[in-house]
Symmetry: C2
Subunit: 347 residues, 2 copies
């Protein structure tokens, strides 16, 4: 999946911006390369995004797509992920309006807009592109451990659970590494990451037999010219729903090193009664499942302390460093230097 990195994007987050289901919108604002002209959310009282997120003072809220037309967007990005990934019926009219008014659609839902006759026709008629970000490429290979032959250092983020900061960690690391002279690339493996980077494969949408092959393909295609490959992890070995995606990604991307991501205030695996084991045990489990031809070590811990004060976060970091003996930080609060140092040392 590739889309135009120069498109002027209007983000659609009707009724949801900053309220827990607009991770995609927020990720795009924080890390995306495209210019963003506005965010559609008629329920927002604020004038601009900075009043909610602390960044994006130049991005106004608009009440409707129509109100944004004077800003000349040429792509509408769906920035909300409704539970289940389906298309809320109320959105249909708005999305058709966008296609009719010169916008491509960038869609990360499980719902494939291209397969919907009404959307497909409208796109053809108005000569617009529908980019279903989660659609997996045809003819993916079965994984064959080929990424083990890539000379670059390959670092994968893995998690104690899902939604703990695996994507954020690799993006922060990529920025910093490139600033400091490494030839680093971030490899996105989920819909939001794909929207941010403009390429990638949503591994969780791929048919079981071809998941690790999809990860392998991403590594082999993007390795040339880079000496540090930072792969976005998915799910968790401990999550009963997503663990297969996690393991496929490990065996497809063949990391040399892993960073373990964790939210210290979380006690149970999301939506379950599974108590999260101690981090040291989790790290050992991740190391145990790497294949004999390329064993990988967990070399650092990335904490997501968004729900703690800086002072509380520092205490957690200190505690976890003492328990695990591994360099630990919160990349958003305190930067990724400590983890990048660990990566450079392990090289």
């Amino acid at each position: 999946m590739k889309y135009n990195p120069h498109s002027r994007i209007l983000i659609y987050a009707e009724g949801e911006f900053g309220r827990g289901h607009s991770k995609t919108a927020e990720g795009m604002i924080r890390y995306g390369k495209n210019p963003i002209v506005a965010v559609v959310d008629s329920t927002r009282e604020e004038k601009n995004v900075a009043e909610v997120l602390g960044i994006g003072a130049h991005i106004p809220f608009v009440r409707s797509i129509s109100e944004a037309l004077t800003l000349e967007p040429n792509a509408l990005l769906i920035g909300v992920a409704p539970r289940g990934g389906g298309l809320p019926p109320a959105w249909r009219k708005d999305l058709l309006f966008a296609l009719e008014h010169g916008m491509d659609i960038i869609n990360g839902l499980h719902f494939m807009m291209e397969e919907d006759p009404e959307f497909a026709q409208a796109a053809r008629r108005h000569n617009r592109i529908i980019c279903d970000v989660r659609r997996s490429p045809d003819h993916l290979p079965v994984g064959a451990a080929l990424a083990a032959g890539v000379p670059a250092q390959i670092v994968l983020t893995v998690g104690s659970d899902c939604v703990v900061g695996k994507k954020t960690t690799v993006i922060e690391l990529e920025r910093l590494a490139n600033q400091q002279g490494r030839k680093a690339i971030y490899i996105p493996t989920g819909q939001t990451g794909i929207m941010i980077a403009g390429f990638g494969i949503a591994i969780d949408r791929v048919i079981g037999d071809f998941m690790s092959g999809a990860a392998e393909k991403l590594i082999l295609e993007n390795a040339p010219g880079h000496d540090l490959i930072l792969v976005e992890g998915q799910g968790s070995l401990l999550h009963p729903g997503y663990s297969g995606v996690t393991l496929s990604l490990i065996h497809g991307s063949m990391p040399s090193h892993m960073i373990l991501c964790h939210q210290p205030t979380r006690k149970y695996i999301r939506d379950s009664k599974i108590l999260i084991p101690p981090l040291k045990e989790i790290a050992a489990l991740y190391e145990a499942v790497t294949l004999p031809i390329k064993k990988a070590k967990v070399i650092g811990i990335s904490l997501n302390c968004f729900d703690l004060t800086d002072e509380q976060a520092l205490k957690e970091i200190e505690k976890i460093e003492a328990l695990t003996g591994l360099p630990t930080t919160d990349c958003v609060k305190f930067g990724a230097q400590k983890l990048l140092d660990a990566i450079n040392w392990a090289r």
Copy 2:
């Protein structure tokens, strides 16, 4: 996926019967419930299946589908799995002929016949059913460890590699267990098993996010009325292409016990340079990945010694029992009683 268990089946194995790619045909002949009228393979010199497999003296070879019409088949089962799972172009004419002459098609390829306009039309015109065995059901859930609440004993076969006898082991165990008064059920999770049992889901064909949910659904739907649930394993935690399917199946089916399957003469993971580690290490790895809410033990080893004499096989069994301390046998050569005893004791 369900199909008529009374259909009179003609097996299509043109050019391949008994030559390494006709596992589906052989599995169906060995374990299927449907009457089988003949096997199509024009290259076979023998008169009947028994001359190749040692069983099936009543199943003749025929040179063409047309030659089998007097035997009144009402379903054609594709018994060959070509590399890649696509449809060999030369088969098209034969499959259309079968539909035109009153046969449903039972298809386990990755190629979905129902989505092919020519086959779909022919099926409609002749009022026949195309059963794409690998098609996954719509609206599968995300796995949520719900099978952990099932009161029956759940036994899953796991492997040192793929194609080592995971399906055969559970089928042999199911027969024996039911003969001896347990209420056992075999849960198929791959295309051949589905053809044999007449129900199931091909987990390897399911989209990543829903694989373990598919396994969970199979357990929850089939648990009532049974006290021993025997789940067919897939792939291997050590296979770089299929490990994600394997782990999803473990976390979806939530076994209480596992039987480790292995081919003693195999040194490397199929199509790879990955050396197979000692069985004790493999068993420990499988136990380590089971989730904290329902830890499972490996309680026996099932060897596939098809390429050894009985005497050689007995030596391997003895050696592996000494090394692992686990009851070990070859279920095809020596029956499954030893493993069933282990399952009953572990109950």
